[in-house]
């Protein structure tokens, strides 16, 4: 018997897979970016099904609010004739399809190999348990992930400095 949460999961999984296929197959890159938004939204729904509230919202904020917008901006900055008229896949696309299929079959084989141990169901959230403050404690407390927290900021700094330097180095032109 299939219950409500399974229906929601299957719907969002369908959305994810269909739009992911569109992302890798449509010719118009703006459409590809918009399909990416729909994929990412589906992933956010999966997080909500998993009761990871913070990640569900952060997924929308970071991916849809920033990364998808970046992609659209980047597409707009490049020339249109490179985007929609010509063939969008390279000569090796058959091999790529084969490899992707092999990877999927291998992954599915591994997953099914674990058998019943992967059929475990989510435990109920304990009463009064607040995942947000637990996440905060884990992320910043000295016993938790304080170092990765700081390293993330250094990573973001490096990304900002590097990409600004690369993108707009006017002096060399």
């Amino acid at each position: 018997m299939i219950d409500a949460s399974q229906v929601i999961f299957l719907l969002s999984a369908g959305l994810i897979v269909v739009s992911a296929v569109m992302v890798v197959s449509v010719r118009n890159l703006v459409h590809a970016a918009l399909w990416l938004v729909s994929t990412l939204f589906g992933v956010a729904v999966v997080y909500a099904v998993l009761e990871a509230s913070f990640l569900a919202v952060a997924q929308v904020v970071v991916y849809i609010g920033a990364i998808a917008i970046m992609f659209i901006f980047a597409v707009m900055l490049t020339r249109r004739d490179l985007l929609s008229k010509s063939e969008q896949t390279n000569a090796n696309w058959v091999w790529a399809l084969g490899l992707a299929a092999i990877v999927f079959v291998a992954l599915a084989f591994i997953i099914s190999g674990y058998g019943a141990s992967l059929n475990r169901l989510p435990a109920a959230m304990p009463e009064g348990y607040d995942p947000i403050s637990a996440l905060g404690n884990a992320l910043v407390s000295p016993e938790g992930f304080a170092l990765p927290f700081e390293v993330a900021s250094v990573l973001l700094l490096a990304a900002l400095v590097g990409s600004v330097y690369v993108a707009l180095n006017k002096a060399k032109e």
């Binding site: 919202v57 929308v60 917008i69």
Partner: protein, 393 residues
Amino acid sequence: MNFWTDPIKVLYDWLMSLFGGWGMAEPLANTLVTLLGIVVLITIALVLDIFLVWIERKVVARFQGRLGPNRVGPFGIFQPFPDIIKLVIKEDITPDGADKVVFNIAPVLSAGSVIILWAVLPIASRIYGVDLNVAALYIIAAGALGTLSVIMAGWSSNNKYALLGAFRQVAAMISFEIPMVAMLLVPTILVGSMSLNAITQAQVDGVWFFWLSPLGSLIFAISAIAELGRSPFDLNEGESEIVSGYHIEYSGMKFGWFYAGELLHAFTFGGFMAIFFFGGWHGPWAEEYPLLGAFYFVLKALFGYWVIMWVKYTVPRIRIDHMLAFNWKFLTPLSFALLIVTATVHVLMRDAAFWLYVAAMFTSNLLLGWLTVEILRSYTREKREAVPSAAHH
């Protein structure tokens, strides 16, 4: 417990017993009542939206020494209804070369991104959609959908003004999102929760956060106005330059949704202003009588909305380079400085007496504001003195 102390619960029980009387199973009845509640909440928001059109037109008329709508109904209050009928029966034009699907989704997404904010809005002590524990970030997420709708509208119209307007609007929205998020972090630090209900409750039990962070409320107001794309930050729709921006090709009800969404957005942000800094529904007897709390909330939100209109019809539009420079070189560093100061004072003073804590917060805000003004003053003095000498050479 009666209707006046907990109206939602009374209505819920009444509907449940009514549906139960019809022989409906309990989960089904529960779902149905929830759906009904959602539809009613959204309908209230949209009815309010209709009257916002009237308020906006009446207020702008007063600002400009005119009468405004005064024919349909007393004081022209029913003017929005003919407006809506006109919008619905107008021919809907889709320009050549438009991307039809994206073109049609954009206005729906634009209005929807505002409507979904009402799911987390605590209208009164026991009147709210849902108490989400990540509500502060949820607001930003809804704003992200709004940004996306702008770029979709601009791109799909196949019009260069629309695309230019969309780019400007998106640049403004994403830029001013940063100080806004930083200011959402201030109440989050003060309360230790992102839930809007918890934030309101903390102000009911303590003081309004305006007294803890006056500078924060000011920054939030400025960035909210920019986020709404209202004057002085309405360069996306500079009529004289890019003929009203990203929704230029829209007509009929599709344009109507952009317009309605903008007004409701402004009102909703007035509400957020109230929730984050002015105590939400807090007021005399509001806790016992939720309907009174709802009244206070709407009043405060309308006040916030009025301030937004006041700014809109007073301050002239500024240039996009000035606007972005204002954000990145002034507002963003200032808001993060304020965030650091707030966090520091909060942690160091959390064990002190309450009045001392409030005083320290208030003073540190004023100090930071004064410091900022001083830095700006010396900086502009340098500039002023540099100009004539440069001209001399």
